[in-house]
Symmetry: C2
Subunit: 216 residues, 2 copies
């Protein structure tokens, strides 16, 4: 797997204001988002399945990677590109067996040890955080702030791409990329933005700058 | 699918006293249980997966049917015989496509209309309840008591087997079977019993009597 992960949107309808998640995803695609993850923490499996079918259409048309949080069965049912797993979810190896070797399997970790273990288990990328403490709770409430120094340690420990998550904004995204992350995963920085497309572009520019690339 | 469903155990570790769920399942198998459903409402997916592997071994060795509640991916991962789905879960057709035609796909319903719809969608059996109001909450808290008259209406509406659930004990299981149910699904009546094997036998005998068979 070698897909770009500069900007990675995690959906959450109840933090998308009056807009629906599909509208936010359309705008993020317009802003050049690389990956969309269906999360919708408070929705039922049936609701996530229905929304997943819709987001799959949108992302496929745009050539944007689409993954589903937690649920391997929903990922399979909507023909997502992969799944994102945490400590409480099915093991990476089970997801890979189930979805096939082509599938993208991401794993949430917060330490270099866990990162190496996930890489050995076959994870294709890592979500690492919470990089910054935040009231926006892009990650689980009990996720402690690890800062960019630990993020750098995690990124250095593995060869697979690492995306930072937790309290990331256009203002601090550059520091996340400078720490070695391939990109930034956000909820509110895009879903809550007045202009989600512009917010996505700002994040991407910050990541490009941090990674020493010319911003496009 | 034509498996017996006279006694159907729904697991719930936190209502199994000091025993673990595996111990309760062993005892229920000893008592002649026909189906075991892994529910464990408060466990993480990872925990259900690990426990599912263990229960799969126990049930396979005994030739007992084993299904997983809600999660098609966990059912597939532990090689269960099937899955049991509710209104908030993935559709029956998605589960059948995913697990294959041999898989047992059950569906929770409480009306004849929903029963016919589930049968048309390909459900192999129905869980119908709550038959009796109960403090033990074998079904969702918001599940209203439907009584044996409505259960009889549901059973009469479809050709697939129907199991009653909700507040069922050895004392009222006969009435559930007399209403047309193929069997009874229980949590507490087995998990909370002093002797889960004996409790399973009593339930089975009551169902056999209700179905007009000679108790074995
Ligand atoms: Ni599958």
């Amino acid at each position: 797997m070698n897909i770009p992960m500069r900007t990675y949107l995690v959906t959450q309808g109840d933090r998308s204001g009056a807009r629906g998640t599909a509208d936010v995803v359309r705008a993020a695609i317009d802003g050049g988002v690389d990956v969309v993850q269906l999360r919708e923490k408070h929705a039922t499996a049936r609701e996530r399945y229905e929304l997943g079918l819709e987001l799959r259409d949108l992302t496929r048309e745009a050539g944007v990677a689409f993954v589903v949080n937690d649920r391997v069965d929903i990922a399979a049912a909507v023909d997502a590109d992969g799944v994102h797993l945490g400590d409480e979810d099915l093991p990476v190896s089970v997801a890979s067996d189930h979805l096939g070797e082509e599938a993208i399997v991401g794993r949430s970790v917060s330490t270099p040890e866990a990162a190496r273990e996930a890489e050995r288990a076959g994870a294709d990328y890592l979500g690492v955080g919470a990089v910054f403490a935040t009231g926006t709770k892009d990650v689980a409430d009990d996720e402690a702030e690890i800062g960019t120094a630990r993020l750098a340690d995690v990124a250095a420990a593995v060869d697979i791409p690492v995306v930072g998550i937790g309290g990331i904004t256009a203002d601090n995204a550059r520091a996340v990329a400078e720490a070695g992350a391939s990109g930034v995963a956000v909820v509110s920085a895009i879903t809550d933005a007045d202009d989600p497309a512009a917010a996505t572009r700002r994040l991407r520019r910050a990541v490009d700058e941090g990674r020493g690339r010319v911003a496009r």
